[in-house]
């Protein structure tokens, strides 16, 4: 532990600090280049949009792509007859606490029986990426979860609401490293908010609006404290 790092219960309040590991500005290039057939095809077709690739955990291929071109690259991976990644198994996020959040796609081709992991590195100051829910329906809920827990906005998502946390959750996005384990508000404030909830509000026809306007709390800066009348 670094000197000056809070320990014990204080650490619970502050959350994990940025790690000692060097900032990943330099690509962690793998010693063994991947021989995954999709990687060579991706590099040949998209060139610079394929930032780097490596083998992880022994035999798993990871490809980092340009976040601006994720829709184009993923659509090609889904539709090209030599690739046919028809199953989007998982979409998730990873926050290293070093200023970037990765969006991770786990794909599988039921035709070729191949798996591929594609990652997009986003700066924490501009967490925005195109939605792939139009390509794979499974990405619909998975991207909602990434938005909910990491605060990544998916452009063009059909239903950009929170999914696990309540719609009016005002403490931010829990899986970010800057989010303390106990939440941003005090226990008293959290209890007060829970008791003040109008349960009838959740039984209205607006619940049925797919992709309707995001709720007021989300509209104003993702509910960070101080904004949206958060901490009262």
């Amino acid at each position: 532990m670094k000197p000056g790092t809070p320990g014990g219960l204080d650490a619970v309040e502050t959350g994990p600090l940025p790690s000692d590991a060097p900032t990943r500005t330099v690509a962690p290039q793998s010693a063994t280049p991947s021989d995954h057939p999709s990687v060579a095809a991706l590099v040949a077709r998209f060139g610079d949009a394929i930032r780097r690739h490596r083998v992880s955990a022994g035999d798993q291929t990871v490809v980092w792509i340009d976040p601006a071109k994720n829709l184009e690259v993923l659509r090609w991976l889904k539709d090209d007859p030599t690739q046919l990644y028809d199953m989007m198994s998982d979409v998730t996020g990873v926050d290293y606490g070093t200023g970037t959040v990765d969006v991770v796609y786990q794909m599988f081709s039921t035709m070729h029986k191949r798996a591929l992991r594609v990652r997009c590195e986003l700066p924490v100051s501009a967490l925005e990426i195109d939605s792939v829910a139009g390509l794979w329906h499974s990405a619909d809920w998975l991207e909602r979860e990434v938005y909910d827990l990491f605060g990544v906005t998916f452009r063009g998502h059909p239903d950009p609401r929170r999914i696990l946390m309540p719609d009016d959750y005002a403490e931010g996005h829990p899986l970010r490293k800057d989010f303390p384990l106990r939440g941003r508000f005090s226990r008293a404030e959290q209890t007060r908010r829970a008791l003040a909830q109008d349960v009838e509000r959740f039984y209205t026809p607006t619940d049925l609006q797919h992709g309707g306007p995001p709720q007021e709390v989300l509209a104003s800066g993702h509910g960070a404290p101080g904004e949206s009348g958060g901490a009262a």
């Binding site: 619970v12 994990p16 790690s19 590991a21 962690p28 992880s56 955990a57 022994g58 798993q60 990871v62 028809d86 199953m87 989007m88 198994s89 998982d90 998730t92 996020g93 990873v94 926050d95 290293y96 991770v104 786990q106 039921t110 029986k113 798996a115 992991r117 794979w136 329906h137 499974s138 619909d140 809920w141 998975l142 979860e145 827990l149 929170r162 999914i163 696990l164 946390m165 309540p166 829990p174 899986l175 989010f179 384990l181 959740f202 039984y203 026809p205 619940d207 049925l208 797919h210």
Partner: protein, 426 residues
Amino acid sequence: MGQKTLEFAVGRNPEMGVSGRPTASPLAPFDIAEPEFDTQKMLINIGPQHPATHGVLRLVCELDGETVLSVVPHIGFLHSSFEKLGEYRTWNQIVPLTDRMDYLAPLIYNCAYVMSVEKLMGIEVTERCKVVRVICMELDRIFGHLLWLGTTAIDVGAFTPFLYAFQQREKIYTLHEALTGARITTSATRVGGMMADLPTGWIEALVDFLDKFPKTLGEIDHLLTTNQIHIGRTQGIGAISRTDAINYGLTGPNLRATGVDYDVRKDRPYYDYETYDFDVPVGEHGDCYDRYLCRMEEMRQSVRILRQAIARLPGGPINVADPNISLPSKTDCMSDMESMIHHFKLITEGIKAPEGDCYYAVEGSKGELGMYIVAEEGSTKPVRWRVRPPSFVNLSVIAKLAEGHLVSDLIMINASLDIVLGEIDR
């Protein structure tokens, strides 16, 4: 790769349908002209506190009469922030969190998690450990399917299968308790092995269960498979095509009921599953009835795998010998200085992981259960621990499946997806 397709040989009903499955005789003529009424759309709320939602799931339905126009599922009522908690725990401390996600098949979750960590760290577990974990996972596949079977039968009005199924589950609970000391929160695995080896007499008890279980399963089969009410309530309900099922990310029996033979045990084999002789049942119509048939057959196949695993269970240690991974025995700790130091280092610091990320999928009872782990060089805790919950992805299809069906069919569709809210909400 073994033979993959399997025809459903029911063979007890002379009125077989064209596809070889029993069909229901029409209960009433359908050509009655319905009078035109001015209808008004109605909004009803099901759950979160409702037994038919199989957990704290809330469904908001828009109805025209009894017909479902649209469904909006609301989840998150059981959110426990397990993935965030995992970032504050060492590798082995996370194990107890995993069995609280799918408490209907906890051993599969225990195994899947440590298998992913071992994959990331490059740990090769012992042969005995592999077979013991296969036994654990197949036993809990039966365990999970039995709960689904009992509760789903109740949803369509059949009470007896519920009692039969839960009687069998009780026996598996007893096996859990003998193996781990707990009935639900098993926490049976550790990185590099198991919490403990199999207790004396456990395999005999398992064999005894395997001898008696297929008979009960056959009885439930008799009660449901050719039952006219059950067929009428499930055939043609909540059907989905192959391409849609893949596009919606369905896995497990829900996907195989449509005819896609994707099974992680066959397509991305782990723990020598390719050497076990078992079939992957696939359906044809992708409706509730085919999902039912797939799960029934999977339980029989699990019994087959379990028998083979018991036959090949090797001796030898169950934990890897590396002192940086496995705890030394208590006797060594008390008598040997070096073992005590290893014990101290492992407890206070934990196991150190290499830099990298790892996605490891196993075939859970609900579908593809993936564990995605990200670690930094030497980290004793995960940077990110992500669970790819099969039920979460499977449930997202419910709005599509239920459209145009009756409210009572919505209950059946929800039940047939086999969800567990513990892993959906995490």
